[in-house]
Structures are given as C-alpha cells and as structure tokens.
C-alpha cells in the first residue's frame, strides 16, 4: 500500500493506493484525475477537474516509493 498525496490549487489530500510495482508518472496523474473527480480523495473533490490538470506537475517518490507526492512545480525562491 502506498499513499498518493495530491496537491491542486493549494489544497492537499492523501489517497491510499495499491501499486503493482513502479507505476509511470503519466499513469499516476491519470489515476489522480479520476479519484479527485469521483470524490474518493477526502477534502479534494472536483467533479469537473480537467483531464490535463496535472500536466506539468511533478511526482516525488519518497520513503522507497511508499509516499508519492503529486504537486505543482516549485521553481522559485528569491
């Protein structure tokens, strides 16, 4: 069992997910769109979320791939 954390428009929520090996970023983004649309992610229910909502987003794979973070790019600091 892994936890996929999804951040969109400044809101973040966790979604437990069963993964069979390494899943490609594109597939994780597709899954994220589906579960956010369906209301399966507590606190992040967006029925009209665009298919391309997570294009350009980044997936961090931490804790040996058990914690996945789908998030916007963060290029800036100064």
């Amino acid at each position: 069992m892994a936890i996929l954390n999804i951040t969109y428009n400044g809101l973040s929520a966790d979604y437990p997910i069963e993964l069979d090996g390494r899943v490609a970023d594109a597939d994780l983004k597709r899954i994220a769109v589906e579960v956010v649309r369906s209301g399966d992610v507590p606190g992040l229910h967006l029925p009209n979320l665009p298919v391309a909502a997570f294009d350009g987003f980044v997936i961090d794979r931490l804790q040996g791939g058990h914690r996945l973070y789908l998030r916007p790019k963060v290029p800036f600091g100064a």
């Binding site: 916007p72 290029p75 600091g77």
Partner: protein, 191 residues
C-alpha cells in the same frame, strides 16, 4: 554556526529576518538589486531601492535590529562557491533557478554540507522546504515565467518563510532535518 542564505529575494529575505534571533552568524548572497516591484513581496523597505539585495538586507538587519551579517553582492558560480560557502555550517537555498540550485547541491554533497532548499510555485499556491537528500530542482515551465512578485502572494511567502525559519531553528538547536510542504490551508511535515 554560520548560516549562508543563497538568494535573498522573497523567501530568502523574509526567512533571514525571521532567523535574526538565532544563536548563529549569517551571510547573505545575491547579485540582484532591489526594485520597486520587490517591496510588496520581499523584506526590503523603500530606502533600499536601487541597492544590491544582499547589501540592502545587511543594512536593514543592522539598522533595525543591531544584527551584523556578511553580504556578498555577487552571482554564485561554480568558480566562487568555495569562497562564498567557506565556514558554513548550514546552507539555505532560496534561489529562483534550477541551474544555481544544482551548483549548490553538487558542492554541498561533495563537501558534506547541510543544505536545505525552499521553493514556491509560480502561482503562489504551494511551496516546499526540503533537505538536499530529497530535493530535485524544478525548472521553469518557460523562460521568464511569472513569479510571486505581486503582493497577492505575500501571505503565502510569509507562511513558507516561517516554515523554513522554524526548520533552520530546529537544525541549529538539534541538528534535526525536517521536510515540509506548505499549501493554502496547511503546513504538512513530510519527513
């Protein structure tokens, strides 16, 4: 401990101000100048307009708080990084470009220097504080992408800077290294 802030724009300047009470010495590195558009999102005051950011923040910290820091008004490169980070016990990366972040990471990893990064999204809705072991710099979507220069994003910059400052404080006190992500509704510790 000597703490070196790389980039003292929005995140770097605000974080440095929040770290002023720490039992540490500070160095500020930034080649850029303070522009009027920076006043709404960075820690600079009107009297600093036109000055180098590192020098301006050095003057503000001295004049407002009596804190003496070192300032280097230069662009960090692979050629001068050894000098700029000389004696550092902690490096804080608040740069606004992936190329500079990579130079810093490579140097810190080679030298075993503690390095923490802070980074914010272009729309000001999300940011991260992440230690170097887990950090990969994100590139801009396109050159010249809009940043958080308007005052609209100042509260988020403040929230992320406060998270970074607390992370620095805990490192100074206990050598603790904690990653966080900051959204509009929460600060979440991720490791």
């Amino acid at each position: 401990m000597r703490i070196v802030f790389l980039g003292v724009g929005a995140l770097g300047s605000t974080t440095a101000v929040l770290c002023r009470a720490l039992d540490a010495s500070f160095a500020l590195v930034d080649f850029d100048k303070v522009e009027s558009k920076n006043l709404s999102s960075q820690a600079f005051v009107k009297q600093s307009l036109g000055k180098n950011k590192a020098e301006a923040l050095k003057a503000q910290l001295l004049n407002f708080y009596g804190l003496k820091v070192d300032a280097f008004g230069v662009r960090l490169t692979a050629e001068n990084i050894v000098q700029l980070l000389d004696g550092a016990g902690l490096v804080v990366d608040c740069f606004d470009n992936a190329a500079s972040r990579k130079i810093v990471s490579e140097h810190a990893r080679a030298k075993g220097l503690p390095l923490v990064h802070a980074a914010i999204s272009g729309d000001g809705s999300f940011g991260i504080v992440r230690w170097d072991a887990h950090f990969v710099p994100d590139a801009e979507d396109h050159a010249g992408q809009a940043t958080c220069e308007g005052g609209e994003h100042l509260p988020m910059i403040g929230l992320l800077a406060a998270t970074l400052a607390r992370t620095i404080q805990d490192f100074v006190a206990r050598q603790e290294q904690r990653d966080s992500m900051v959204g509009l509704k929460s600060v979440t510790v991720t490791s």
